[in-house]
Symmetry: C2
Subunit: 306 residues, 2 copies
């Protein structure tokens, strides 16, 4: 099926206990007037409806790690999320029945990430969109790459796609501030898309990127139990650099575990509740300034067939 113009997929509830964007998307479906789409074609969908219904991150496995060829192509795998990934691609994938070219995956986090953008790898079109959003309103960009333990993110299956990650907010809780932040991010994204459509988008000269270097675990006993928690001076300090000797974790007896290293990192996703099971207390990034590349611009225009 050939579409008259490019379609954008808005997906929420990819994790069923991140309910703010899901609630907003459901409201948007019922009341289209609450968010102006600037004559763009948009598709709105709940990523993991069964998990949302149960207010769980997932039923069988993390949907946002399920978009890997080897999982999707394994006919023996009948896990709910793998089947849901196949279904989403069949319906809304770039070659789907109702094909979308851009996917925006809306998430929330218990970390103090503010409203931030996550891109996976260095795809030019993703970086073009991230550049527009950052130059417009300053959203920080987390570039996730080179992490063999974390693969198969949803947006990677679309020609262009990024995650909007908002926090802090508990799982399973509607929060006014987070709903408003999500709505603002959607409005701004759609406005920028409108500008692309009329070739009036303004790209910056440089962008600031937080490049993933590594994730670190909580200190654990030999039995695997967490024996220290994030130090109060580090809790809530996402995007703030950490240097050698800074307090990192605190043990129940009051002793402090400090960060040791000659490099300065910028931690993100500090104390995200869902990452405990992934043995991630926080991720360390390097803050870098990149020149904007004309290739990014042409990549997004090419995807939008403009």
């Amino acid at each position: 099926m050939l579409m008259s113009k490019p379609q954008v997929l808005f997906i929420a509830g990819t994790h069923g206990n991140e309910i703010n964007a899901s609630w907003l998307i459901n409201q948007w479906i019922k009341k289209p007037e609450i968010i102006n789409v600037n004559d763009f074609e948009v598709v709105k969908v709940i990523g993991n409806p069964e998990a949302l219904h149960n207010c769980k991150r997932y039923l069988d496995c993390d949907l946002n790690r399920s978009f890997r060829e080897e999982l999707l192509n394994d006919d023996q795998l009948a896990l709910y999320e793998i089947e849901r990934a196949r279904e989403l691609l069949l319906n809304f994938g770039p070659k789907g029945l109702n094909a979308c070219q851009i996917a925006i995956d809306l998430h929330s986090t218990t970390s103090s990430m503010g409203t931030s953008i996550v891109v996976y790898g260095r795809r030019p079109a993703d970086l073009a969109i991230a550049s527009l959003l950052q130059s417009r309103i300053g959203f920080p960009i987390y570039l996730h790459e080179g992490d063999d333990n974390q693969k198969g993110f949803l947006v990677e299956s679309w020609p262009c796609g990024l995650v909007i990650e908002i926090g802090p907010v508990p799982q399973g809780l509607l929060n006014a501030k987070v709903i408003n932040q999500t709505k603002l991010a959607l409005n701004i994204f759609l406005e920028e898309l409108g500008k692309l459509n009329t070739k009036k988008a303004f790209f910056p000269d440089k962008i600031r990127v937080h490049r993933h270097v590594k994730s670190i675990d909580y200190p654990r006993t030999v039995d695997g139990e967490i024996e220290a928690f994030v130090h109060p001076s580090r809790q809530g300090s996402d995007w703030h650099p950490i240097e050698n000797g800074a307090p990192l974790f605190l043990k129940s007896d009051g002793s402090v575990i400090r960060f040791e290293g000659s490099e300065t990192f910028v931690p993100v996703f500090i104390n995200e509740a869902a990452y405990m099971e992934k043995n991630i207390a926080m991720s360390f990034t390097k803050r870098e300034t990149w020149e904007f590349s004309k290739d990014w611009e042409s990549a997004i225009y090419s995807i939008l067939s403009l």
Copy 2:
């Protein structure tokens, strides 16, 4: 089995996704020196270990609504939490193998309750303990009573018992501030218990109580879906009075639902994640000042056999 002196039960993880107190209790079991018990006999236990293991509030039903005679005595009922309630009473109940006279049940909440005390009904010994804690450090007291929809609280099965409720904190997340608040509350409770033991406790003349009046639900559609969230000016405002005309909820189209009523209430447990399924957006209380009663003092001394 006759105990040489009264025993106090400290219970955490009665809800399996409230992990801060559970973590602290487990640390305390391993490192008894982190909290000074003032020569008191204490028993430390995880209320719902299976739910904690799964980081869920409960498996079959809410353990902290399971301590009702008709449930405990129904031999046909084999739900995990009902059996766990029986087991806790058999082991640590007032007539148990390792009998305890006072139960302190440690909870956390996504609401901005600070460190607060919840008492169920008006049992004199509970009010005596609550009075000591409030006069010592100002913890607010929520008196839960007259609520036919909410019954069977754990501490009601002990001669004296209260809940210490701390928030805001997401479910399933270790948070430095909440762990420290929990530890402080335990330390102060144990110090006051030590003073009772040596008859040096200082009771106040008056206490301030927030008496439960009613709970209100989120605005919902006829299908039962939540159609408005807690207004940003009310979110996080637990313990702050609400008056006629004040913003209460906000809808996705921006329209405000206001509180209507001639009485002033003090809302508590505003937007507690676990209460969505109980159709509770917040509870309204009346703030009252009560004269301290000598009966409360004699009740706690009697329970402690002092």
